[in-house]
Protein backbone atom coordinates (compact mmCIF):
# COMPACT_ATOMS: atom_id res chain seq x y z
CA UNK A 1 0.00 0.00 0.00
CA UNK A 2 1.05 3.44 -0.74
CA UNK A 3 1.77 5.74 2.06
CA UNK A 4 -0.68 8.56 2.33
CA UNK A 5 -0.10 12.01 3.70
CA UNK A 6 -2.87 13.92 5.36
CA UNK A 7 -3.26 17.40 6.70
CA UNK A 8 -5.35 17.62 9.80
CA UNK A 9 -6.46 20.90 11.29
CA UNK A 10 -8.68 21.15 14.29
CA UNK A 11 -9.98 24.15 16.15
CA UNK A 12 -10.57 24.19 19.87
CA UNK A 13 -12.67 26.61 21.84
CA UNK A 14 -10.61 29.69 22.71
CA UNK A 15 -11.09 29.11 26.43
CA UNK A 16 -9.58 25.60 26.32
CA UNK A 17 -6.65 25.31 28.71
CA UNK A 18 -3.29 24.36 27.28
CA UNK A 19 -3.26 20.97 29.03
CA UNK A 20 -6.52 20.03 27.41
CA UNK A 21 -5.04 20.72 23.98
CA UNK A 22 -1.96 18.71 24.85
CA UNK A 23 -4.18 15.86 25.98
CA UNK A 24 -6.03 15.86 22.65
CA UNK A 25 -2.75 15.85 20.76
CA UNK A 26 -1.36 12.93 22.74
CA UNK A 27 -4.54 10.89 22.35
CA UNK A 28 -4.44 11.52 18.62
CA UNK A 29 -0.82 10.45 18.49
CA UNK A 30 -1.64 7.34 20.45
CA UNK A 31 -4.55 6.29 18.29
CA UNK A 32 -2.61 7.10 15.14
CA UNK A 33 0.08 4.72 16.34
CA UNK A 34 -2.48 2.01 16.94
CA UNK A 35 -3.70 2.21 13.38
CA UNK A 36 -0.28 2.05 11.81
CA UNK A 37 0.03 5.76 11.22
CA UNK A 38 2.40 8.40 12.43
CA UNK A 39 2.05 12.07 13.22
CA UNK A 40 4.92 13.75 11.43
CA UNK A 41 4.46 17.25 12.63
CA UNK A 42 2.31 19.18 15.06
CA UNK A 43 2.01 22.93 14.91
CA UNK A 44 0.10 25.09 17.31
CA UNK A 45 -1.02 28.18 15.51
CA UNK A 46 -2.50 29.59 18.66
CA UNK A 47 -5.66 31.58 18.98
CA UNK A 48 -6.77 33.01 15.66
CA UNK A 49 -9.80 34.85 14.49
CA UNK A 50 -12.29 32.69 12.68
CA UNK A 51 -13.60 33.88 9.35
CA UNK A 52 -17.13 33.12 10.49
CA UNK A 53 -18.85 32.10 13.67
CA UNK A 54 -18.39 28.49 14.68
CA UNK A 55 -20.35 27.20 17.66
CA UNK A 56 -20.94 30.82 18.66
CA UNK A 57 -17.21 31.52 18.82
CA UNK A 58 -15.41 34.17 16.82
CA UNK A 59 -11.96 32.90 17.75
CA UNK A 60 -10.43 29.50 18.03
CA UNK A 61 -7.24 27.72 18.95
CA UNK A 62 -5.82 26.12 15.79
CA UNK A 63 -3.73 22.98 15.79
CA UNK A 64 -2.23 21.72 12.55
CA UNK A 65 -0.85 18.21 12.03
CA UNK A 66 0.71 16.25 9.23
CA UNK A 67 -0.13 12.57 9.39
CA UNK A 68 1.32 9.66 7.51
CA UNK A 69 -0.62 6.46 7.25
CA UNK A 70 -1.60 3.63 5.02
CA UNK A 71 -5.09 2.72 6.18
CA UNK A 72 -8.21 4.77 5.78
CA UNK A 73 -9.36 3.55 9.20
CA UNK A 74 -6.77 5.79 10.76
CA UNK A 75 -8.50 8.96 9.65
CA UNK A 76 -11.87 7.57 10.57
CA UNK A 77 -10.66 6.92 14.07
CA UNK A 78 -8.99 10.32 14.45
CA UNK A 79 -12.06 12.14 13.23
CA UNK A 80 -14.25 10.12 15.57
CA UNK A 81 -12.09 11.17 18.49
CA UNK A 82 -12.25 14.80 17.48
CA UNK A 83 -15.99 14.64 17.04
CA UNK A 84 -16.45 13.17 20.50
CA UNK A 85 -14.31 15.81 22.17
CA UNK A 86 -16.29 18.79 23.40
CA UNK A 87 -13.40 21.22 23.22
CA UNK A 88 -13.03 20.74 19.48
CA UNK A 89 -15.41 22.87 17.46
CA UNK A 90 -14.16 22.16 13.95
CA UNK A 91 -11.77 19.82 12.20
CA UNK A 92 -10.73 19.06 8.65
CA UNK A 93 -8.62 16.31 7.17
CA UNK A 94 -7.25 16.57 3.66
CA UNK A 95 -5.42 13.91 1.76
CA UNK A 96 -2.45 15.58 0.18
CA UNK A 97 -0.07 12.91 -1.08
CA UNK A 98 -1.36 12.97 -4.63
CA UNK A 99 -1.07 16.71 -4.86
CA UNK A 100 2.40 16.67 -3.40
CA UNK A 101 3.36 14.02 -5.92
CA UNK A 102 2.04 16.21 -8.69
CA UNK A 103 3.96 19.15 -7.31
CA UNK A 104 7.20 17.18 -7.21
CA UNK A 105 6.64 15.99 -10.74
CA UNK A 106 6.04 19.48 -12.02
CA UNK A 107 9.03 21.01 -10.27
CA UNK A 108 11.24 18.18 -11.47
CA UNK A 109 10.02 18.75 -14.98
CA UNK A 110 10.76 22.44 -14.69
CA UNK A 111 14.25 21.81 -13.38
CA UNK A 112 14.98 19.51 -16.25
CA UNK A 113 13.75 22.05 -18.73
CA UNK A 114 15.76 24.79 -17.07
CA UNK A 115 18.85 22.62 -17.24
CA UNK A 116 18.31 22.02 -20.92
CA UNK A 117 17.68 25.62 -21.85
CA UNK A 118 21.19 27.10 -21.50
CA UNK A 119 22.60 24.60 -24.00
CA UNK A 120 20.19 25.54 -26.71
CA UNK A 121 21.14 29.05 -27.77
CA UNK A 122 24.80 28.30 -28.44
CA UNK A 123 24.65 25.34 -30.84
CA UNK A 124 20.96 25.46 -31.62
CA UNK A 125 20.58 28.98 -32.91
CA UNK A 126 21.39 28.44 -36.60
CA UNK A 127 20.49 24.81 -37.30
CA UNK A 128 17.46 24.22 -35.06
CA UNK A 129 14.31 26.01 -36.09
CA UNK A 130 12.18 23.51 -34.17
CA UNK A 131 11.25 25.75 -31.32
CA UNK A 132 9.82 29.13 -31.94
CA UNK A 133 11.05 30.49 -28.65
CA UNK A 134 14.68 30.27 -29.63
CA UNK A 135 14.55 32.57 -32.66
CA UNK A 136 12.03 34.84 -31.00
CA UNK A 137 14.12 35.74 -27.98
CA UNK A 138 17.20 37.06 -29.84
CA UNK A 139 14.97 39.04 -32.17
CA UNK A 140 13.38 40.82 -29.29
Amino acid sequence: MDERIYDLIFICRPATPEEEVNKIVTTLEHSAGEHGGKIEKTERWGTRRLAYRVAKHREGFFVYMVIKGTQGDLIKELERRLKVNDAVIKYQTIRLDEELKRQQKLSKHRERRAARRPRKPAPGAPPQPQQQQVPASPAE
Partner: protein, 135 residues
Protein backbone atom coordinates in the same frame (compact mmCIF):
# COMPACT_ATOMS: atom_id res chain seq x y z
CA UNK B 1 -27.37 62.56 -0.84
CA UNK B 2 -29.69 65.19 -2.35
CA UNK B 3 -27.31 67.92 -1.22
CA UNK B 4 -24.33 66.59 -3.09
CA UNK B 5 -25.53 67.01 -6.64
CA UNK B 6 -26.53 70.56 -5.91
CA UNK B 7 -23.25 71.57 -4.33
CA UNK B 8 -21.03 69.65 -6.74
CA UNK B 9 -22.81 70.63 -9.88
CA UNK B 10 -19.69 71.22 -12.00
CA UNK B 11 -18.00 67.79 -11.57
CA UNK B 12 -20.91 65.45 -12.43
CA UNK B 13 -21.41 66.77 -15.95
CA UNK B 14 -17.69 66.61 -16.55
CA UNK B 15 -17.42 63.03 -15.38
CA UNK B 16 -19.96 61.46 -17.74
CA UNK B 17 -18.40 63.24 -20.67
CA UNK B 18 -15.02 61.64 -20.43
CA UNK B 19 -16.21 58.00 -20.49
CA UNK B 20 -18.68 58.85 -23.20
CA UNK B 21 -16.00 60.01 -25.57
CA UNK B 22 -14.11 56.77 -26.06
CA UNK B 23 -17.37 54.92 -26.44
CA UNK B 24 -18.53 57.30 -29.07
CA UNK B 25 -15.38 56.76 -31.07
CA UNK B 26 -15.29 53.03 -30.87
CA UNK B 27 -18.95 52.34 -31.43
CA UNK B 28 -20.41 55.19 -33.36
CA UNK B 29 -17.69 55.53 -35.90
CA UNK B 30 -20.12 55.46 -38.85
CA UNK B 31 -19.44 59.09 -39.71
CA UNK B 32 -15.72 59.32 -40.27
CA UNK B 33 -13.51 56.51 -39.04
CA UNK B 34 -16.23 53.84 -39.03
CA UNK B 35 -16.27 53.39 -42.78
CA UNK B 36 -12.71 52.28 -43.36
CA UNK B 37 -12.76 50.23 -40.19
CA UNK B 38 -15.56 48.01 -41.33
CA UNK B 39 -13.73 47.25 -44.52
CA UNK B 40 -10.72 46.14 -42.65
CA UNK B 41 -12.59 43.92 -40.22
CA UNK B 42 -14.65 41.20 -41.70
CA UNK B 43 -17.23 41.12 -38.90
CA UNK B 44 -19.21 43.94 -37.39
CA UNK B 45 -18.92 42.34 -33.96
CA UNK B 46 -15.17 42.62 -33.98
CA UNK B 47 -14.63 46.28 -33.21
CA UNK B 48 -17.18 46.31 -30.46
CA UNK B 49 -15.04 44.54 -27.96
CA UNK B 50 -11.32 44.40 -27.93
CA UNK B 51 -11.50 42.52 -31.19
CA UNK B 52 -10.26 45.68 -32.83
CA UNK B 53 -6.99 45.03 -31.03
CA UNK B 54 -4.73 43.75 -33.77
CA UNK B 55 -6.06 46.14 -36.37
CA UNK B 56 -6.03 49.21 -34.17
CA UNK B 57 -2.36 50.11 -33.97
CA UNK B 58 -1.89 49.75 -37.73
CA UNK B 59 -4.41 52.44 -38.45
CA UNK B 60 -2.33 55.08 -36.78
CA UNK B 61 -3.51 55.03 -33.18
CA UNK B 62 -7.23 55.12 -33.77
CA UNK B 63 -7.76 52.76 -30.89
CA UNK B 64 -8.72 54.70 -27.77
CA UNK B 65 -7.51 52.28 -25.16
CA UNK B 66 -5.97 48.89 -24.97
CA UNK B 67 -5.97 46.52 -22.12
CA UNK B 68 -2.69 45.36 -20.69
CA UNK B 69 -2.34 41.64 -21.04
CA UNK B 70 -2.70 40.10 -17.62
CA UNK B 71 -0.27 37.39 -16.69
CA UNK B 72 -1.01 34.59 -14.30
CA UNK B 73 0.72 35.49 -11.05
CA UNK B 74 1.22 31.87 -10.14
CA UNK B 75 2.87 31.09 -13.46
CA UNK B 76 5.27 33.99 -12.99
CA UNK B 77 6.29 32.65 -9.60
CA UNK B 78 6.35 29.03 -10.83
CA UNK B 79 3.87 27.86 -8.23
CA UNK B 80 3.22 24.12 -8.35
CA UNK B 81 0.98 23.90 -5.36
CA UNK B 82 -1.35 26.46 -3.86
CA UNK B 83 -1.44 26.10 -0.12
CA UNK B 84 -4.85 26.47 1.42
CA UNK B 85 -3.30 27.34 4.76
CA UNK B 86 -1.93 30.66 3.55
CA UNK B 87 -5.19 32.47 3.90
CA UNK B 88 -3.65 35.92 3.62
CA UNK B 89 -2.36 35.09 0.15
CA UNK B 90 -5.67 33.63 -0.95
CA UNK B 91 -7.39 36.76 0.29
CA UNK B 92 -6.12 38.60 -2.78
CA UNK B 93 -8.23 36.36 -5.03
CA UNK B 94 -11.43 36.80 -3.12
CA UNK B 95 -13.92 39.63 -3.27
CA UNK B 96 -14.75 41.70 -0.25
CA UNK B 97 -17.82 39.62 0.37
CA UNK B 98 -15.87 36.40 0.05
CA UNK B 99 -16.62 35.44 -3.54
CA UNK B 100 -13.86 33.93 -5.63
CA UNK B 101 -12.68 36.43 -8.23
CA UNK B 102 -13.09 35.30 -11.83
CA UNK B 103 -10.16 34.65 -14.07
CA UNK B 104 -10.92 37.62 -16.25
CA UNK B 105 -10.33 39.90 -13.29
CA UNK B 106 -7.14 38.40 -11.94
CA UNK B 107 -5.59 37.01 -15.10
CA UNK B 108 -4.92 33.64 -13.50
CA UNK B 109 -4.44 30.81 -15.98
CA UNK B 110 -7.01 28.04 -16.06
CA UNK B 111 -4.85 25.49 -14.33
CA UNK B 112 -3.95 27.76 -11.47
CA UNK B 113 -7.50 29.04 -11.17
CA UNK B 114 -8.59 25.46 -10.69
CA UNK B 115 -6.07 24.91 -7.94
CA UNK B 116 -6.86 28.26 -6.45
CA UNK B 117 -10.57 27.53 -6.28
CA UNK B 118 -9.85 24.30 -4.51
CA UNK B 119 -7.52 25.98 -2.04
CA UNK B 120 -10.04 28.71 -1.29
CA UNK B 121 -12.78 26.19 -0.69
CA UNK B 122 -10.57 24.25 1.69
CA UNK B 123 -9.65 27.39 3.55
CA UNK B 124 -13.33 28.26 3.83
CA UNK B 125 -14.13 24.92 5.31
CA UNK B 126 -11.75 25.38 8.19
CA UNK B 127 -12.76 29.00 8.87
CA UNK B 128 -9.63 30.58 7.46
CA UNK B 129 -11.65 32.35 4.78
CA UNK B 130 -15.28 33.42 4.92
CA UNK B 131 -18.02 31.84 2.84
CA UNK B 132 -19.72 35.20 2.87
CA UNK B 133 -19.00 38.12 5.11
CA UNK B 134 -21.96 39.15 7.15
CA UNK B 135 -22.65 42.85 7.22
Amino acid sequence: MPDQPGSQSPPPPAAPESPARPEGHSHGGPGGPGGPRREGHSGGGGPRREGGGPGGPRRGGKRQYFRKKKVCRFCVDHVDFIDYKKADQLQAFVQERGKILPRRMTGTCSRHQRWLGEAIKRARNIALLPFATEL
